[in-house]
């Protein structure tokens, strides 16, 4: 039954806000296969529930309904060594690179934590070499980065440090929640390429969460379109973008600006009078 690396089974999450029950995620299901690293995208506008789902998959938010299964086990029921194993094998990169590192410590601290998690000897020169290699791999100079504080580095650098962290950990799954939306356009490609690298060279399966379908087309094997807490369409990126079936997907695809001045939005869509 579970030859799956990750299975999200009818997961739902309801919050009570001002006395009302609000369903952030209604019932989402999808899976990542074993032994076959894939990059799947969960795409949707803000408020569609994609970030909530990311937190649920990472083990930070127990679902109100349904299950999150890692190698067939419900992650919210695991304890002890199994839980520690889960924490090692499922990692994340977040949207705001400035928030990811503890402002009190230099960048070394983040890698110290990883080294400890991997059970590597801290003072071993081999360990230090591994850390430096991971940083070089994301095109950062270890010496100019390790001794600095987070606020002294740029968003692009910090995001790449997060990726270096993942390179060191080599998890089975990486949840990337809007990893490039707060990075300058000229650096986005670099970061996206490094993400794809993680899949192709290190065999890490990636759950890529974004609102930008264009980047999804560039890197995904499969795309899920999320709208108001549910997955309304799924398929290969090309299929979903060129032949959208669901009405919302059509609207979404039609609204994406194409960077070609010769192909402009010709007619207004959905601009009918709106009442509050």
């Amino acid at each position: 039954m579970s030859g799956m690396l990750l299975e999200v089974r009818a997961a739902g999450k309801t919050f009570s806000r001002h006395g009302e029950q609000v369903a952030a995620v209604k019932s989402m299901s999808f899976s990542l296969p074993l032994k076959q690293p894939r990059l799947v995208t969960l795409a949707g506008e803000s408020g569609c529930g994609k970030s909530t789902l990311a937190m649920m998959v990472l083990g930070f938010l127990p679902p109100s309904s349904g299950q999150i299964l890692f190698h067939g086990e419900d992650i919210y029921l695991t304890r002890g060594a199994r839980l520690r194993h889960f924490r090692r094998e499922v990692q994340a990169i977040f949207q705001n690179p400035f928030e990811v590192f503890n402002p009190f410590y230099r960048i070394d601290h983040a890698f110290d934590l990883v080294v400890r998690q991997l059970g590597l000897p801290r003072t071993d020169p081999e360990t230090s070499r591994m850390v430096r290699d991971a940083l070089s791999r994301v095109q950062l100079d270890p010496d100019s980065v390790l001794g600095r504080y987070p606020h002294q580095l740029s968003g692009g650098q910090l995001q790449r440090i997060s990726i270096a962290r993942v390179v060191l950990l080599r998890p089975e799954i990486l949840v990337a929640d809007e990893p490039v939306s707060m990075i300058d356009a000229s650096l986005r490609l670099v970061v996206l390429r490094q993400l794809v690298d993680l899949k192709e060279r290190l065999g890490i399966s990636i759950l890529y969460i974004t609102h930008d379908l264009s980047t999804a087309l560039q890197i995904s094997d499969e795309v899920f379109i999320a709208h108001q807490g549910s997955i309304v369409e799924r398929g290969s990126a090309r299929a979903v973008i060129e032949h959208p079936q669901h009405e919302y997907t059509r609207l979404l695809v039609a609204s994406i600006p194409v960077p070609d001045p010769r192909e402009r939005w010709m007619d207004a869509i959905g601009a009918a009078e709106q009442t509050p």
């Binding site: 090692r88 977040f94 705001n96 503890n102 402002p103 934590l113």
Partner: protein, 293 residues
Amino acid sequence: MRIRRVEPTVVARVYSSSAWRRHLPLLAGIGLIVCALLPVLLGRWFVTPEMAAVFGDVPNLPPSLKHPLGTQSEGRDLLAALMLGTPATLAIGLIGGGVAVLVGGTLGLVSGYRGGWTDTVIRTIVDVGMTVPPLAVLILIAVSIPKVSVPVMGLIIATTAWISVTRVMRSQVLTLRERLFIKTAKLSGVGSFGIMAFELAPNLMPLFAASFVNSVTTAILASIGLEVLGLGPRESYTLGNTIYEAMYYTAMWRDMWWWWLPPIFILILIFLGLFLVSNDLDRIANPRLERGW
């Protein structure tokens, strides 16, 4: 984004701040506290500690060269009394404030981070505790302890002073708890204790420092309150004890201003100093209070 400096005429119009100016309140506060310590620093030139004992010299003498602050009705030299009393009062403040912040800070941290039953229990104690007038509790405790020394006095005061610290720490922890760097630490396999001690606590230091100074102020105030009621450490010299004796011997109606005025003046200096320091620390703890540059 720095490019390079511009022509001098422009620089003249441009104001560059200096660290001294920005932290003027802090420096002024420390200055006031140093002034309050003048009897301690300079007293040895005039008097010896023995003169603070009962019948150290002739009682009720007005200020003179031999006794710059005169003597009181028990024959104690007042400058000597202040020389010994000021550090004692400050010590009570530091011990009381320090213990309060350690206990309150830890409880606030644990309560805020763990949530659940731990939080509910601690929060209830705190909420109830805040409604109880601390002086009443302190009086009850003080009368039941036969021999009160300076450290014991500090501890007595800490028993009520920790409560407001817990509240403040807890609110701050609640906001910090959801930050991404805490989530990243969890993803790095750091356990609850590790997160509280090494990820959260360092970021709470500015708040800790500000709370500490506030607690010291509260502790000194509470100790004075107890001492003027005669419940202080009677064996030791403290500023509050001096004031108590002044009241007991009705110094005010006997025009013995050199008795009751100096200790009060020193206390004012200490409180003002602590207030200025705590204001500045608050400003550092809360960056939004700082004028944006």
